[in-house]
Subunit: 203 residues, 2 copies
C-alpha cells in the first residue's frame, strides 16, 4: 500500500483518479482547507513546500488541477495567458521540482493535461499550449529524475461525468467514463512506466 497525495480529489477529474487509487492510502489536498486533508495552492512554491513537509512520508503525488483561461486567440490577453501558464504549467512543474526533494525513493508523480493539444477546439489555445508543454516536460524530465522517481501525465478527453458542462463546446468528441481515466492513473502510479503520456480517448 502506497501513500498518495491526491490534489483536487473533489473535482470530477479528482474523482476519476480516486476510482483508480482505491487500494492505497490517499491523502487529499486542494485549495479549500475545509474540503481536504491538506490545503494547497499549486501556484505557490511556499504552499507546495508546506504541504510536502506536513504530509511527511509519501510515495506518489497525483495532480488533477490547473486553472486555464479560455478565449479566442486574438482576444486573449497576456494576463489570461499568464494565469494559465502559472497554474497548469509552472504550477505542475513546481509540484515536481519541489516534490522531488521530499518524495520517497522510487516514488511517482502523475500530472494532468488534456486532449485539446492534439484535438484543438475554439477558445482553448492556452489550455492546449500548456498541455503540450507539460506532456513534453514529462517525456523529457523522466530521464533525469533522481532516486528511481517516475513521472507520467494523463491526457484524457472530456469525462462522461462532465459532458453536460463541456459537451456543447466539443462537437464530435466522445466522452469517456471517469473509471477508465482512473485506470490510467492506476497504471501510472502502480506500473513501472515513466516519461509517458497516457492518452485516454474514445477514438
Amino acid at each position: 500500500m502506497k501513500t498518495i497525495i491526491l490534489i483536487g480529489a473533489n473535482g470530477k477529474m479528482g474523482q476519476a483518479a480516486l476510482s483508480g487509487l482505491g487500494k492505497h492510502k490517499v491523502i487529499t489536498a486542494g485549495r479549500s482547507a475545509a474540503d481536504y486533508d491538506f490545503q494547497v495552492d499549486i501556484t505557490s512554491e511556499e504552499s507546495l513546500r508546506k504541504l510536502y513537509k506536513e504530509v511527511g512520508h509519501f510515495d506518489a503525488v497525483v495532480n488533477t488541477v490547473g486553472v486555464c483561461e479560455y478565449a479566442n486567440f486574438t482576444e486573449m490577453t497576456e494576463e489570461q495567458w499568464m494565469t494559465t501558464i502559472m497554474s497548469k504549467m509552472m504550477g505542475q512543474i513546481n509540484l515536481v521540482r519541489i516534490g522531488q526533494e521530499y518524495i520517497a525513493d522510487k516514488g511517482s508523480f502523475t500530472l494532468i493535461t488534456g486532449i485539446l493539444n492534439t484535438k484543438p477546439i475554439p477558445f482553448a489555445i492556452a489550455d492546449a499550449t500548456t498541455s503540450g508543454a507539460i506532456d513534453t516536460f514529462v517525456k523529457c524530465v523522466a530521464f533525469e529524475m533522481p532516486r528511481g522517481i517516475r513521472i507520467n501525465s494523463i491526457n484524457p478527453t472530456v469525462l462522461e461525468e462532465a459532458w453536460d458542462v463541456y459537451g456543447e463546446m466539443m462537437p464530435g468528441f466522445e466522452p469517456v467514463p471517469g473509471r477508465l481515466v482512473g485506470k490510467a492513473f492506476e497504471r501510472s502510479v502502480d506500473g513501472f512506466i515513466t516519461g509517458q503520456v497516457l492518452f485516454v480517448d474514445a477514438y
Copy 2:
C-alpha cells in the same frame, strides 16, 4: 517580393534563416539598435508593438531568438524557468498575438523551437518544455488565425555553424548545415502550409 521582419538576423540561426529569404526584402530587428534596422525585445509587449508600428507594411515575421536557461532539473530555479518561459514561449506567443493586428492579409509567422523536445539532453529541460509548448501552440492556433494568416515553427537540430560550441554537449547528434535550415524557413514563408512544425534533422 515580400517584406519580412527577421528577428535576430545576426545570430547563427538568423543567418541560416536569411539564407532562405534572399528573394525578399528583409528588415532586421534585434536587441541592439546598432546592429539591426530596428530594435526589439520580444519579452516586452510595448517593444513588439513599437516595432510593428514603425515598420508599417510587412508580409511575414520570422523569429530566430529566445533566451533559454540551462541547468539540471533538480537545480533549476523558478527564476530560470520563468526567464525561459517569458522569452522563448510567451515572447514568441506575444510576437504572434500582437503581430496579427498589424501583419498584411495572408501574411505568415515563422517561430523557432529546437530538437531537444524530441531528443532530450542534460541541462535542457526548460528549452525542451518551451519548445514543446510553441510547437503545440503553432499546431493549434493555426486554425483560428484571421485573414488567411499562416503560422509554422522551425524545429532544427544543432547547426554545423554552431557545432564547435554545442557539439560536446550533444553526443550522437549530427549537425545540419544552416542552408538546409534556411530551406525550412523558405518553405514556411513562401509555401501555403500552416500549423506545421518543420523538423530539420539529420536522422
